[in-house]
Amino acid sequence: MTASFLGQDYLEIRDLTVDFDGFKAVNSVDLTFLQGRLHFLIGPNGAGKTTVVDALTGLVHGTGRAEFRGRDLLGMKSHKIVRLGVGRTFQTATVFEQLSVLQNLDIAAGLHRRAGSLLLARGKTPAKVEEALETIGLTTLANRPAGVLAHGQRQWLEVGMLLVQDASVMFLDETVAGMSTEEREETGELLQRIAGDRTIVIIEHDMEFMRRYADFVTVLHAGTVLAEGTVAEIQADPQVQTVYLGTVTEVAADA
């Protein structure tokens, strides 16, 4: 990340529509993801949160415009989008279980290596990988197979993989789902630490986590943007309360 990008790196989405055989899962959505803040995407099941991210990362076909660094992400191939600096995680953490934590990170860090250098074995651990291990707190587990990691640690490894691949836009899909309270706190602090010059978009169901760490919130409902603003603004929005927040906080309180 060069200094010239600071404060100017953003992802601008206009009129994004995803049409599944006539059903509009995402309907003419306008969104702007700015650098340096934790931007939460919330909404009830089926609101289109994951579909928005799928469309922006080349997994499903979307129409409209999604401009990042002068390129339209819609229509680009998934791996090219990643190379442009837009990374994502999935609802179920998928790390390479047979490979060690270190190897997982090393592979993620390799996307800008020349093809020929791939034929060589890794010499010493790249500094970037070492740094990421430190940031996500898995240094001591570096040589363990990723398959033995606990649920929370896998999610952190995923975040680490985004760090080493120089993703300046990170889409995190329900990263804290299934985590213990302490793990959630550590995750929240980790995200705040790395937010700096990155654009971080978090899809979340956990309202408590959202209240605590969100800098900006977008509420999606039935494929459209229902409301946008700070946590306080969203909480005060009567529309959001009826459609979404009320019911879910009740559920969360019961659990």
């Binding site: 592979i107 791939l118 034929l119 691949q165």
Partner: protein, 385 residues
């Protein structure tokens, strides 16, 4: 986040890991010693010839280990590439036997005695060698590009490659005037000018074949320990995840597919001067599956498993077919089924499993040999076909 004050050395390569990497090289050295020093000194010319034949299959098997064991592509049609190399070599030797300007005997027998134009360049030795290496590389690149970029995988990939082997054999059988048809190409006299009946020449051909096997073992050893090897395993286990790391999985698999094809072709080329024949039955679906059986038996994702498995299946075929000539195919089929049912990661997985039963100091330490081996052994079992 957890225990941040623990020592940082964990992320570096431990001596144990380095040893395990170079330990494999020592194992290859032992194989080389047996094949290149012990065997020529101890075996009769007949047995040595048989061993050479198994080595030719083993070369193809090493490639299958790469594509199937590490790449997750169940290549059921390697006979096609074995055949490209085999037929290229056989055509050259046939033309040598026919003499300068001569026409291979079978063409006068089945045809009108004129040679198709595309045979002509195979009079040249260098051209033939180039075809043996580049032919399968080009064919497999085009096929692989078409198949892999369309994200064909699993059983569909297997069936597609198997169908290619069937089509290839059918094509050969139906073109008797150009390729010798069902009989294939046989009756050779010389190998690059050397008299094939000279025992020393026979031994040299054996040594070249065994030497190539060792060479390809070293090649895949380097591939497996390289970053590419890690990426290939990652692609095998979670292809979509690799895509979201910024790589195109099709390209990663394509490299393994092309390398496997070249190895099969080189194996096929060396098979011809040793066996003295190449025919559709050496390259069809059944022959392709025989190659797979050896790889499965030895352990498809291990380094030496595919080669040793192919040598064992080759030996078993000779030994059993001498005693029970008609039943051998049943043995082979039963073997494949038994291995797949009870030992999906092959014989190579027995040792780490035994070792895991007896906890040692080394296998208890994180990042040590024990865990490495465990991961290795499980790799085959988890891989989807």
């Amino acid at each position: 986040m957890t225990a941040p004050d623990a020592p940082k050395t964990a992320s570096r390569f431990t001596p144990a890991r380095l040893f395990s990497s170079y330990g494999a090289l020592v194992a290859i050295g032992l194989v080389a010693l047996v094949l290149l020093v012990w065997a020529p000194g101890s075996l009769s010319a007949f047995r040595l010839g048989n061993l050479g034949k198994y080595c030719a299959w083993a070369i193809a098997a090493v490639g299958i280990g790469l594509a199937w064991g590490r790449g997750g592509m169940l290549v059921m049609g390697q006979g096609v590439f074995f055949g490209i190399g085999g037929y290229a070599m056989a055509m050259h030797m046939k033309l040598e036997a026919a003499g300068p300007g001569g026409v291979p005997d079978f063409m006068t027998l089945y045809g009108n005695g004129t040679m198709p134009g595309w045979w002509e360049p195979f009079r040249s030795g260098p051209f033939t060698l180039a075809v043996i290496v580049l032919g399968p590389a080009i064919v497999s690149f085009i096929l692989g590009y078409g198949i892999l970029k369309r994200r064909v995988k699993g059983a569909y990939f297997a069936i597609l490659t198997q169908a290619l082997a069937v089509a290839f054999a059918t094509l050969l059988i139906s073109t008797i005037k150009q390729t010798g048809g069902f009989n294939g190409l046989n009756t050779f006299s010389t190998f690059f000018g050397q008299n094939l009946y000279d025992p020393q020449v026979k031994e040299n051909i054996y040594l070249i074949t065994a030497g190539l096997l060792v060479f390809f073992l070293v090649v895949v050893w380097q591939l497996y320990r390289s970053r590419y090897g890690e990426l290939l395993v990652a692609t095998r286990d979670a292809e979509e995840r690799v895509r979201f790391l910024g790589y195109d999985p099709a390209n990663i698999k394509l490299v393994a597919f092309v390398a496997a094809a070249v190895m099969a072709s080189v194996g096929g080329a060396m098979f011809v001067p040793i066996a003295g024949i190449i025919s559709p039955s050496n390259v069809d679906a059944a022959a392709s599956i025989m190659l797979l059986a050896g790889v499965a038996l030895g352990g498809r994702s291990s380094l030496l498993g595919p080669a040793l498995g192919a040598l064992a299946v080759g030996y078993g075929q000779s030994a059993l077919s001498e005693k029970y000539p008609t039943q051998w195919t049943y043995f082979q089929g039963a073997l494949f089924i038994l291995v797949m049912l009870f030992l999906p990661a092959g014989i190579a997985s027995i040792w780490p499993k035994l070792k895991a039963l007896v906890p040692t100091k080394r296998s208890a330490s994180p990042g040590g040999v024990g865990i490495e081996a465990e991961v290795e052994a499980d790799a085959g079992a988890v891989a989807p076909v």
